[in-house]
Every structure is written in C-alpha cells, then in structure tokens.
Amino acid sequence: MIGLQHYLVLSAGLFALGMLGLLTRRNAVNVLMSIELILNSANVNLVAFSRYASGNLGGQVFAVFVIVVAAAEVAVALAIVLTLYRLRRTPNLDDASILKG
C-alpha cells in the first residue's frame, strides 16, 4: 500500500539531491537545475499532504504558485547567466571570483 510516507521519503531524496547539486556544481545552469529539484521536492510534499493529510486543496494551490515563482526565477536567473557569459565567456561560478568574502 502506497502511503504518505512513501512520497515524503521520495521528496526528501529529491531535496537532498538538489542540495548536493547546489553545493558541488560549478556551472550556473546546473545549479539552477538543482534548485528546480528542491522546488519540485517541496511541491511533491504539498500535493502528497493535500491527498493524504489535510483533505483540502490548499497544498495544490500552493504548488501552483510555486511553479509560477519558479518560472519567474528561472527567467531572471538565465538572463543574468547569459549576461555573465557575454562578459566573461564562461558560465562557471568559480571563475566568477572577482568578489571575495
């Protein structure tokens, strides 16, 4: 029987993988992909809760807004990455080291 916990562990895995990508990847587009994994993991949570735990659609509505925000964020992020690439010929984060701690 598939229950709530199956989905929650799945999303925990997605979240962890997203974090892994965030911490280890050098390419900005790759980091963006990892962030999308994180957002999707939260969405899976929301929809699973909506189905099994809360009995209402609030989670699904929340998930729709998350998708909207993700789209806006990716658009702006890619615009910035593209500009970075034009200026520096590389999308790698480590090379963007002019600004130091």
């Binding site: 735990a53 964020e73 910035i80």
Partner: protein, 497 residues
C-alpha cells in the same frame, strides 16, 4: 463581496503603488521626451499617496484579516508599512539619476517600476497571514531585488553579484519552502491562524522533531532576507556590486519586511490564543535560537567591517551588524521589544540612507568608493563631512542622534526581559562598531591628503538632501514624546485573532 470591498478599503497604500506602477510603465512607453520627468514624478506621487494612506491606516487602528485571511491589518502592521513606504519615498527623493554616477545612462522607467514593485511586495510581505501569501510575497521581494541588483548589466562586478544573489536566494527560499510544506502537512491548512491553533493545541512528542525542522528551514528564508548569519554571505558582494542607490534601498526595505514577517510569523503562529500574542506556546525555545543568531550576526558584521576599505562593503557589514541589533527587538518578546524594533527601523532608515547618499555623492565627484580616497573631505566638502558625521554618530548610537534612541529602546527591552548577558554582548558590539565608524570620520576630517584637489561642488538639491537627512537624524529627539506615542499606539498585534 463586502469582505472584498472592506479589504480593498484597507489596501489603499498598496493600491496607490499598483496604480503608480502601471502609470510608470505607460509613461515610459508613451511619454517620449518627457519620459524621465514623468516617471520620476509619478513614482514620487504614488509613494506619497501610499504614505498618506498608511498614516490614515495607522490612525484608524483597524484590526482585521483581509482578503479571506491572506493578509492581516493591525496597528503594528500599519506602523511597519509606514516605515516601509517611507523608506521607498526617502530613497527615491534622495537619489536620482543625476547624483549617481553608476545609474547614468540607464533606463529610468524600469528602475522606477522596480522600486514601486519592491515597496508593494514588501508591504504584502509585512502583512502576510497565510503561508501561500508569505511565500509569494517573499519571492516577489527577492526577484525584484535580483533584477535591481543586476541593473548595471554591463558591469562584471554587478553581474556576478547579481548571480550569486539569485542562486543563494533561490536556495534559501527553496529550503524555506520545504519547511513550509511540512508545516502545511502538520497543520492541514495554509493560514497562519490555523497553524497557530494547531501548535497551541499541543504537539505530540512524535511531532516535535518535525516542528524543529520546520523552524530551522523557515529561518533559512527569513535569515537570508535579513542577512543574518549564516545566511549573510551574499550581502557584501551584492551591496558592492549593485548601484549604490539600489544598495541603499535594499539595505532597508527587504530587511525591514523580513523582520516584519519574522515577527508576525513567530508571534502569529507560535503564540497561544488565550494568553495574548506575547506568550508562546512553548513548543520550541526559538528565542534562544534567535538570540544566538543575533549575537553571531552583530559580531560577524562588526568584526568584518573593521578591515574594510571599500565604503560599500563597509556599510554592507555595518548593515549586517545592525540586523543583529534589530533582532534584539524580536528576541525581547514583549511590547517594548516590538516598540524597539519599530523605532530602530525608523532610525536605521535615516542613518543608513544618509551614509549611502554621502558615499554616492563622493563617488559622483571623485569616482571612488575607497576609503583611502576620503582624506581631506573636511576641507573640500564641509557640508558633506558634517552630514556624514551626523550619520556615522547616529549609527554608533550616541546622543543626541536617533541611533542612540533606537539602541536605548532595544537594549532596555532586552534587559527588561532579564537577558543581561545578551545586552552586554550587544553593548560590546556597539563599542567595536564605534571603532570603524569613527575611523571613517577620522579619515575624512583629520587625515592628510588630497590637498591639491579643488573643493567639491555639490548641487544645491544634493545639499538639501544631505541637510534633510542629517536633520532627520537629530530633530526627532526633540519630539520624543510624539514618537513614544506613535510607537505605543502601534503595539497592538492582531496575531490572527
């Protein structure tokens, strides 16, 4: 239908900003040569209107949920909105495309639209009473900030700062989102009021772990907005890379909105209905956690600022430190704490904006943000140096400046709650901060150098701006009673009831 009308009535500041936003977009498209003047005029007018509505809102003293519980209006919220709109208004008035070398030649319409959108989003964030609204508003503030920071698209520094900002920000808010999703699962509802009822109803031991996890994850999002440790890493780079007027705006608005929502979230969700908003359901000792964050933040900010020579980075670390002080208002967990937070935010507005204005003007005339180019300014620009002295002394927290008033409020609130050690650490921090503020002043006044350079000729309007902000740092002390009254009347926290 009537709930909607009632909500719209209390939504007037935001509506003024929305109308302004749309008009600016239209003006930018159709106004032709009068574009620059038109957009600026519309922005100032709409911010002023919003300010007026916010005053009206606070005077009315309504306490109600709006828009089916998405937002909440109460005197504390209205006071915070007032500060947020004031921050936007003062920034737009103090900075212009003419007194900032970095902004020269860039699009007017877009920047003004972004400013209005930022203030609008901050107002939504400060009043959010539902997890969906909270997340959306937080991301609206964030994304608008990301775009504003990337405004100098041709500049490598600015572009890299913008990239780091957006990646770090998306990661933090993504984590916060995961926490919010768990909270939804626990409470079964997206409304903060419902969450409050759930938490106050007693949490079974099996669920405590989940609530801890939620708190930490949510703090990631708030911490990022406030630039508190350990989510502050983006701050110096972003402040340095963004055009200075944008930095000035970002140093106040998102921070204030972040603090407002942190206040509302933790008091709104974690307070017990029967006992009033200042008693917590005792599920988690998050005040100690916040206290730790506050101490780390102010210490790190102050220590890092000691060795900075770039003025923008110095002020960035100074802002981080002040976030630590501002958190004291929340940690104090009392009416006096909230009052302290309000006064500190208002004071912080005028101190910080003033300092950034001086830095912008020096850059305009000298082309440098480096402290090593600041010697001799006393002779070359006496008014500028005097104004900077006012701002820096206010930042240190010395009477008769508003900075002193602000620190007095938060310190007394914290001491009152018995957290003497905490107050002592904060006091030590203030002393450490004094070192670098005085250092800047010393460099400007006493250090030799630049003797051969001609005096700085400030435009009359810039002199007026400096004078205005400098006075704003001193005059309020004479109206202490009035401020006290205002802060006191703002202390009713609706907390979803």
């Amino acid at each position: 239908m009537s709930e909607l009308t009632r909500s719209l009535n209390a939504f007037r500041p935001e509506l003024a900003l929305l109308v302004g936003l749309l008009l600016v977009v239209l003006a930018d498209t159709f106004a032709g040569r009068g574009r620059q003047l038109a957009t600026r005029l519309i922005t100032v007018l709409s911010l002023t209107a919003a300010f007026g509505f916010a005053i009206e809102l606070q005077a009315a003293g309504t306490r109600a949920p709006l828009f089916s519980g998405m937002l909440v209006i109460d005197p504390l919220g209205a006071a915070l909105k007032l500060i947020l709109v004031a921050a936007g208004l003062v920034t737009v008035l103090a900075f212009s495309f003419r007194n900032s070398r970095e902004l020269a030649g860039l699009g007017h319409g877009e920047l003004h639209t972004l400013v209005l959108a930022l203030v609008f989003s901050c107002l939504l964030l400060a009043a959010a009473s539902d997890v969906v609204m909270l997340y959306l508003a937080l991301e609206m503030v964030s994304i608008t900030s990301y775009v504003m920071v990337g405004y100098l698209k041709g500049d490598r520094l600015s572009n890299e700062a913008s990239l780091k900002y957006i990646l770090f920000g998306a990661a933090s808010t993504g984590s916060m989102l995961y926490g919010l999703s768990l909270l939804y699962g626990l409470a079964g509802t997206t409304s903060l009021r419902g969450i409050q009822e759930y938490l106050a109803g007693g949490i079974p031991d099996a669920n405590r772990f989940a609530v801890y996890a939620v708190t930490l994850l949510v703090l990631a999002g708030f911490g990022f907005k406030i630039a508190a440790v350990p989510f502050h890493f983006w701050c110096p780079d972003v402040y340095q890379g963004a055009p200075t007027p944008v930095t000035a705006l970002l140093s106040v608005l998102p921070k204030a909105a972040g603090l407002a929502i942190a206040l509302r979230f933790f008091y709104g969700a974690f307070s017990v209905p029967q006992r009033g908003p200042w008693d917590l359901s005792g599920s988690i000792d998050w005040t100690s956690l916040l206290m730790l964050v506050s101490v780390l933040t102010m210490t790190l900010g102050n220590v890092a600022a000691l060795t900075q020579t770039n003025m923008k980075r110095l002020l960035a670390y100074s802002s981080i430190a002040h976030a630590g002080f501002l958190l004291m208002g929340i940690v104090a967990l009392s009416e006096n704490g909230a009052r302290g937070l309000l006064v500190y935010l208002a004071a912080y507005l005028v101190m910080n904006l003033g300092a950034f204005l001086v830095v912008t003007l020096v850059h305009l005339h000298e082309g440098s943000f480096d402290l090593r180019d600041y010697p001799g300014l006393y002779r070359r620009a006496p008014l500028l140096t005097l104004a900077m002295a006012f701002f820096l002394l206010s930042l240190v927290g010395i009477p008769p400046f508003v900075g002193f008033l602000a620190k007095l409020y938060v310190f007394s609130a914290v001491i009152e709650q018995g957290r003497g050690a905490y107050a002592t650490i904060a006091a030590l921090n203030a002393a450490v901060a004094a070192y670098y503020y005085f250092k800047v002043l010393k460099v400007m006044i006493i250090d030799p150098g630049n003797e051969a350079k001609p005096p700085l000729e400030l435009a009359p309007v810039d002199q007026l701006r400096l004078a205005g902000l400098a006075l704003a740092n001193v005059v309020p002390l004479f109206f202490w009673d009035w401020i006290e009254g205002w802060a006191r009347s703002a202390l009713v926290l609706y907390a979803g009831r």
